[in-house]
Symmetry: C2
Subunit: 551 residues, 2 copies
């Protein structure tokens, strides 16, 4: 954890014990500090402090109520940033000075207490990062002094809500595109500012994307950076005179390209575009991939690409392919592939059939599904806006709710019944059947006997009385593990790598039945409670709902 | 601008000339550096460099093609961050080392050139921050060495796209809510990570919000921080025994509250909730505002609030009001107001009629309009998810297009005609009529004579031949002004404050006719081109479209 004398959360201060005893983990963004929270967390903390309740032992559950994207599953992400937040948690002098301006009439002793805070008395239990998660199962259970846990609420939600949403979005696009396609994240220009973009690159990679256009994400997270050129590059060329040195391997490359152009009857193409392709090939003879829709994809772009490709091939290089960025992508990709095939045949160059076709331009999960139906010849998709903004549903409603304080359950009802919270400290299990697939998740009280393989268990819908089911587990997977143990030095395991999370996420999906994962009308996955928890919770609710007096 | 020896964009290095000669402006996020860009900007820069074209003089237009939210106007924001980017633009040694790993087979000389770059040869013309803007009018025109301007593309779009979108969203919500209501941004927990949230707070404030819950935004941008307490606070209390010291001004406050409760027949309310309200009032006797929907808004929350309010009033304090966070907000607010009025009458306390009613819970522009239709008694709205994620349309399609290079127009067509770009360097004017309202915007070639008041002007639709209109300006407002003059030291004016932008935005809206601004089916605002520009552009396009040969 951060040394109390450090002036910021920078990764330099010492720490006692824990897994990596040398450095404090720091969040990726320098704005991820305790002040990245809502004012009401501080006003509540003060009210607790005034009642002397600020250090009472509390338990909070972080969960969501509904899967995003009309789907029936969600990936959980953002955990490593949460741990970094906990590890570096500290109000600086300047933070405290600011708080005093925002909270006048507040006793000085409160600010003195605030200035001493860290997360050494907090424990966090969580799903593994990348897990497949379902509604109402706690993704994180945060335990510790009431006011400190409360102060963590908004920052934790900020770090996990979007991370989980965009990872889920990416995973759904991966399924829709097919596991043999390349998926590239191109969203930097449309994301919610700089680290909206960085989060998107990172969590899209977790969800199964192969690379990003964003160099900062590439450098920060070690994700493959990918990209070719834009329309501007093509537009900037109007003639071969703009290429002073046309030599490649001692040959006039422009001449060579034009000889292929002539031989194949492609003299009607846009010459500026051809000059641009030649200039690009001269710079990247080993990595020639051309954007072909600046003037006209099939009339100009593809023939120009092929002329350059034939010339590169003749000089011993392996051209890569094309990118389509407008028009009917299914049709254009099939037509382009047909042109590749014809040239491959005519010139006895079988590799030309296999040119990569990259498609971009407003691609989303529905477009991917539609392209599959129409039939297409696309190998790679560049996806920006719809991935990073999660256009189909731009927020996941993750919440952070008090469920227990001083060993007593905290009850939260609401005019909207669906907003009610399951009180008390709970544990969660995934029950796996004989086929090796998850049957349901079950929540139970912390002190109940855990489910066991082979022992029949009554599981109940948390709200609807008549919905009950018996299940006999073939295997039982406990879902929550301690990821932050403040009293014992903090993080309980080394930092996970992106590759770890990707692999884990993919293994998690294999545990889930196909009909829960499908895009159209998926089957809801059962999230249940034990009979004991059901009775306990409903009794508590009834005790706390006032009975209105009609008339 | 950043000194070439500085190792980062931090605000400490010296600069020659310019308005503020002491410090370099730094972007808010430490990730806003030249590497926050797409890889293809670098590959294109290298291809230009190989052709010796990297320092040719280029002009790029940054614009959008369609207003967001089915509306007919957009606010432009993000400019001050763009200027900070230009002012601190520099690839660090570590950036260059990273680029070498991403771009193998690239000549060393290119990286030497990259390491020398800054924006001292770049000029930027832009709309004022906060301007009302319309499709196809350049928001920014960036001029300078081809490869350097190209390298700026993605970062500029990242800084302006979301900023403009969320400012526009906020401005639309402000119009829908009414100018007499208080609007608070509550979106930190649902935004795209930390500075997604910070950007949202800042640009929502620009658009007319009054405050934010986000303390980091409050501290960073000087925005009012607002908030009360959450459900967790209420849930954490089950009895008055949890308040060890119940004294306020020497009185047992719990007893006093309960005497009012009894007198008014409110004994059926939830006692834990009442204890929470009392604890909160003891901490904030001057600022008591209670969240009333934890158990039951009208049966428990409002009567409990009123009991505490009566007690506070008796001790000389002025209680503030309530927050509703679930249920039918129109109905509940009217009912709560009626209860306030009854108590105000019964107790001869007219101020009780005026208690603030804050509403939150999934509010968006449509909900605001619906509440107005239904009739409500809400004074302030806390808006989170729908504001910060711009749920109704989570991305603005701002683009950055090459329009001229070495004095020659750059033509970009496309299989989608609407994606075509208006080539050549252009100037833009807003034409104001005799009523003092904007009639249309017009783009013309840089060298055409500017429009003048009283002189009739032929304006044409940029794409549709038959759409023409004569206009006689009462006033002419030039839209683009030089905001960054690299050769003369950089920024051309001091940094604007948030208050400047808010005021300017509000004055801009007054120039626009009501029917363009309305929420339902607004009238499109005309964005036109001069007759000369029309002819020039269409001739260029025809020269560049290949004519396909059918069959």
């Amino acid at each position: 954890m951060a040394s109390r004398n450090a002036t910021s959360g920078a990764a330099s201060s010492g720490r006692n014990g824990g897994i990596d005893s040398k450095t404090t983990r720091s969040p990726t963004s320098s704005f991820v500090r305790p002040l990245l929270t809502d004012l009401y967390q501080l006003t509540m903390a003060y009210a607790y402090w005034c009642s002397g309740r600020h250090e009472e032992h509390a338990v909070f559950d972080c969960f969501f109520r509904k899967n995003p994207f009309k789907g029936e599953y969600t990936h959980f992400a953002g955990l490593s940033e949460v741990i970094a937040l906990l590890d570096s948690f500290e109000y600086t002098e300047s933070d405290v000075a600011y708080l005093k301006t925002v909270m006048p009439n507040v006793k000085e002793g409160f600010f003195e207490w605030i200035a001493t805070l860290d997360c050494s008395r907090v424990k966090v239990y969580a799903l593994k990062e990348g897990s497949v998660a379902f509604p109402r199962i706690p993704l994180l259970r945060v335990e510790g002094p009431l006011a400190i846990c409360q102060l963590l609420e908004t920052t934790i939600l900020n770090l996990t809500n979007f991370a989980s949403l965009v990872m889920t979005n990416a995973a759904r696009m991966r399924r829709a595109a097919g596991y043999d396609k390349t998926l590239l994240e191109f969203g930097l220009r449309r994301a919610q500012g700089p680290d909206g973009a960085l989060s998107a690159s990172r969590y899209a990679y977790y969800g199964g994307f192969d690379g990003t256009s964003n160099l900062m994400a590439g450098k920060t997270f070690g994700i493959n950076a990918k990209g070719t050129h834009a329309h501007a590059f093509v537009c900037s060329y109007s003639s071969p005179d703009q290429i002073p040195n046309k030599q490649l391997n001692g040959v006039d490359f422009w001449e060579l390209v034009n000889s292929h152009r002539k031989k194949n009857g492609w003299m009607h193409t846009n010459e500026g575009e051809l000059a641009a392709f030649v200039a690009y090939a001269l710079a990247f003879p080993h990595g020639f991939l051309a954007l072909v829709d600046t003037y006209d994809t099939l009339q100009s772009g593809v023939p120009n690409f092929l002329a350059v490709a034939l010339a590169l091939q003749e000089l011993g290089y392996k051209p890569l392919g094309i990118r389509l960025d407008s028009g009917d992508l299914a049709y254009l990709s099939r037509k382009a592939r047909a042109m590749f095939q014809r040239v491959a045949q005519d010139h006895a160059l079988p590799s030309f059939e296999k040119f990569i076709i990259v498609a971009s331009n407003d691609i989303n999960e529905n477009v991917l599904n539609a392209l599959n139906e129409q039939g297409h010849s696309i190998d790679a998709f560049g996806i920006g806006t719809n991935l990073v903004t999660c256009q189909a549903q731009p927020a996941l409603g993750m919440v952070f709710k008090l469920v227990e304080v001083n060993g007593k359950p905290a009850v939260k009802l609401s005019n909207d019944f669906v907003k009610a919270t399951l009180p008390s400290k709970k544990k969660a299990f995934r029950i796996v059947g004989r086929e090796g697939k998850a049957l349901l998740d079950v929540l139970m009280g912390e002190n109940e006997a855990s489910p066991e393989p082979g022992r029949r268990l009554l599981c109940r819908h948390p709200f609807i009385e008549r919905k009950r089911v018996y299940v006999t587990p073939a295997a039982v997977i406990p879902l929550l593990e301690c990821v932050w143990d403040g009293p014992n030095g903090g993080p309980t395991s080394p930092e996970t790598t992106s590759e770890d999370v990707r692999k884990y996420a993919s293994s998690q999906l294999k545990l889930v039945r196909e009909d829960h994962l499908r895009s159209l009308n998926p089957t809801p996955y059962k999230v249940s409670v034990s009979d004991e928890l059901y009775r306990y919770v409903h009794e508590l609710w009834m005790d706390n709902v006032p009975i209105p007096d009609l008339g």
